[in-house]
């Protein structure tokens, strides 16, 4: 069953300074669709995490690269896809040892990274990761709950 939807695609250089540009775009798309403030903030974090992974891991050996971010706008949900064409990494390996910190954990043993994927899975409603030549993260957030009034003043981006 096919559904009518709007599609937006962006390509950014695989450099950390452009991840903020994706967040600005996402704020605009999220408020256009009627997502609540907190949901937009969740979307921004999850998408930034995926972009950060793409920028930091996929391209560590390469000089140049691009990260493609695409947005599928459906009546009931937003789908965000973040893909890189860098070297594929073993996501199952990355997954290991992920998750929240535990109370009473020894301070000197605290991890200083690896929370990105955990946050993506926590903040989005559905997450899929595909590995091909690079890695693509598919994330879905459904419109629900208290939404921004359709005639409310535009959320500043």
């Amino acid at each position: 069953m096919s559904q009518v939807y709007d599609y937006i695609e962006m390509k950014i250089p695989a450099k950390p300074e452009f991840i903020g540009v994706i967040r600005l775009t996402l704020s605009g798309i999220g408020s256009r669709m009627g997502f609540a403030y907190d949901e937009i903030e969740d979307l921004k974090i999850a998408t930034s995490e995926a972009c950060t992974n793409a920028v930091q891991h996929a391209y560590k050996d390469l000089e140049k690269g691009e990260v493609k971010v695409s947005f599928g706008l459906y009546p009931d949900r937003l789908e965000v896809m973040v893909s890189d064409s860098g070297k594929s990494c073993n996501f199952e390996e990355v997954r290991q040892g992920l998750g929240p910190y535990e109370h009473g954990q020894k301070v000197e043993l605290l991890r200083e990274g690896g929370l990105g994927l955990y946050l993506i899975e926590t903040l989005m409603d559905d997450v899929k990761i595909h590995q091909h030549d690079g890695v693509t993260v598919f994330m879905t957030k459904f419109l629900e709950g208290e939404q921004v009034e359709m005639d409310a003043k535009t959320v500043s981006t």
Binding site: I19, E49, P100, E102, E112, L119
Partner: protein, 110 residues
């Protein structure tokens, strides 16, 4: 889409005011500012997040690193001025139980 780091030093107490966004781009700058301080003995670092409008796991990583370093040097590390959004990030990652956090007006310096 940038960050300013404002450090006020009084004896061994450092009050660090952050303003802006903490992400993969700005985290290295934050790390460079915090680590030399965190490696001194017996310091107290208070980080004011009141003016931080965005933060993700890269920021959490920097704070965990600085927190570990401060503790290894017998110092104290406190986060203050967290918005509800920021507080939530520390809650869902379990860091709220580990790092000393004073939320909102509770610890504000205004």
């Amino acid at each position: 889409m940038n960050i300013t780091v404002d450090v006020n030093e009084l004896n061994t107490e450092f009050i660090v005011k952050l303003n802006g966004e903490i992400d993969a781009y700005t985290a290295p700058k934050l790390r460079e500012s915090l680590f030399p301080i965190s490696e001194q003995d017996n310091v107290s670092i208070i980080i004011d997040l009141t003016e931080v409008s965005y933060m993700d796991s890269t920021g959490l990583g920097v704070f965990v690193g600085a927190f570990k370093s401060v503790r290894a040097h017998n110092g104290e590390f406190t986060l203050i001025g967290l918005s509800e959004r920021l507080r939530r990030l520390f809650d869902i990652t379990g860091l709220a139980d580990i790092i000393d956090i004073k939320s909102g007006t509770e610890g504000g310096l205004e």
